[in-house]
């Protein structure tokens, strides 16, 4: 897959005036809060999109137990997203609530990383994605529990306990499939290969991440890069697989540049609220 060119600001500006009732018309917020708002979207969107991805498995997993695991992990993630996006809506102060942020923003306004929007593929690919993400998210939330933003700290402290389960469960599957039959081994290897190039984005430090870190609000992701690599390597070695070689990374999710996968996730997810705005039970 070639590396894609960045979205030019002028393209984005054109895209944004086209909408008439969607998120594109959101009023601007104060500069200081905008950085925090954007950071909250990153946190919330990662959880929302992966939660939605896992929900696709509901009723389709290889066994009842796995079905429960995936649905429950999805639920945890959507719970995190609810807290982050509700808080983001308060920071934004533009009158759109967490649901509006989830269901009425378009692709360009999503701030999730590429890893979480990757297709489920087979079960091994799903577990490889989960393992690479949850290992990172646990380290991230561990650090965010000390955030100067009390709300972020509270959400992280609440969620980190749940993510611990996600990491354990997915690591166990990486090992079981990697060190399993010829077929499960091949599939896990392919699953890791598929997701590997999306790791560098998790550790990217752009202006927004850097500003949040300098204000004591955001996490310094670079500080746990080594620990992450060590943990991931240990599990892959226990799975008797080889650590994939680094590939050219794809970046841009944090700035609204996504793969085609995201649109396909949003279409069913947002359909109801787009078609029947403000529908309630």
């Amino acid at each position: 897959m070639p590396s894609l060119p960045p979205i030019r600001p002028e393209d984005e500006a054109v895209a944004k005036v086209r909408g008439n009732t969607g998120a594109f018309d959101a009023p601007p917020v104060a500069e200081e809060d905008r950085v925090r708002f954007d950071y909250l979207l990153r946190l919330g969107d990662d959880s929302l999109i992966l939660g939605q991805r896992l929900s696709e498995y509901c009723g389709h997993a290889p066994s009842v137990e796995v079905d429960l695991s995936l649905a429950n992990m999805g639920l945890d993630l959507i719970g995190q997203a609810t807290h982050f996006l509700e808080y983001a809506s308060k920071v934004e102060g533009a009158g759109r609530d967490g649901d509006a942020l989830a269901f009425r923003r378009d692709v360009l306004d999503f701030r999730n990383c590429w890893l979480v929007e990757q297709p489920n593929g087979d079960f091994a690919q799903t577990m490889a994605r989960q393992f690479l993400f949850s290992t990172w998210q646990k380290l991230l939330f561990g650090q965010l529990t000390a955030s100067a933003d009390e709300m972020i700290a509270a959400i992280a402290a609440k969620a980190v306990k749940e993510v611990t389960y996600h990491e354990e469960l997915s690591a166990e599957w990486v090992i079981r499939l990697g060190d399993g039959t010829d077929e499960s081994r091949r599939r896990m290897k392919e699953g890791l290969d598929w997701n590997w190039r999306f790791i560098p984005e998790l550790f990217e430090m752009d202006e927004i991440a850097a500003e949040m870190t300098s204000r004591g609000i955001g996490a310094d992701v670079g500080s746990f890069r080594e620990e992450y690599d060590r943990k991931v390597r240990a599990v892959i070695e226990q799975a008797t697989l080889e650590v994939p070689s680094d590939q050219r990374p794809i970046l841009g999710g944090r700035r609204g540049h996504h793969s085609e996968n995201l649109g396909h996730i949003l279409a069913p997810m947002q359909y109801l609220q787009r078609t029947y705005p403000d529908a309630t039970w």
């Binding site: 945890d76 995190q80 509270a154 306990k161």
Partner: protein
């Protein structure tokens, strides 16, 4: 002075009445235990009831809030506010001893201390048990099985 004390005791009585109203609210997922047993009620004053969710994605959170609202209305405390806090995060340590006994009687093994793998079967009491699935019928439970009486059961996960 006398008036102040009278006021104080009225407030105290009010709080007691609210606690007993809340005690009658069952957990929607595990109706054998009340939300007070589970440690979901963090604080009660005559002006405000403070709740905390068990799990971030717990679908019962909203239902619980509605049930608390109904219980307060019925007990004549319609003006009492309901507030939800995340911090400090809920932990299974807050489940009362009475709550643990009720869980066990209901067929759910109460949480065991972190790190312990010694889980008693709620049916026969044997500790020869094994995990079937990390997740059970709700996010707060895991699926276990007794290798003596062979009954599967839910374990309330330590959290």
């Amino acid at each position: 002075m006398v008036a102040a004390r009278a006021h104080h005791s009225a407030e105290h009585l009010g709080e007691q009445a609210i606690w007993s109203a809340l005690f009658s609210v069952p957990d929607p997922e595990i109706p054998a235990v009340s939300i007070v047993d589970l440690g979901i009620v963090r604080d009660v004053t005559t002006r405000q009831v403070t709740l905390t969710p068990t799990y971030t994605g717990c679908p019962a959170t909203l239902v619980i809030e509605q049930m608390v609202r109904a219980a307060l209305d019925e007990a004549g405390f319609g003006e009492v506010e309901i507030r939800t806090i995340l911090s400090p995060p809920w932990t299974t340590d807050w489940i009362s001893e009475e709550g643990k006994a009720k869980l066990l009687a209901y067929g759910i093994a109460p949480p065991v201390p972190a790190g312990s793998r010694e889980v008693g079967c709620p049916q026969c009491g044997s500790i020869r048990t094994e995990e079937i699935s990390r997740f059970g019928s709700t996010p707060c439970k895991a699926q276990w099985r007794c290798t003596d009486c062979l009954e599967p059961f839910d374990l309330f996960k330590c959290h």
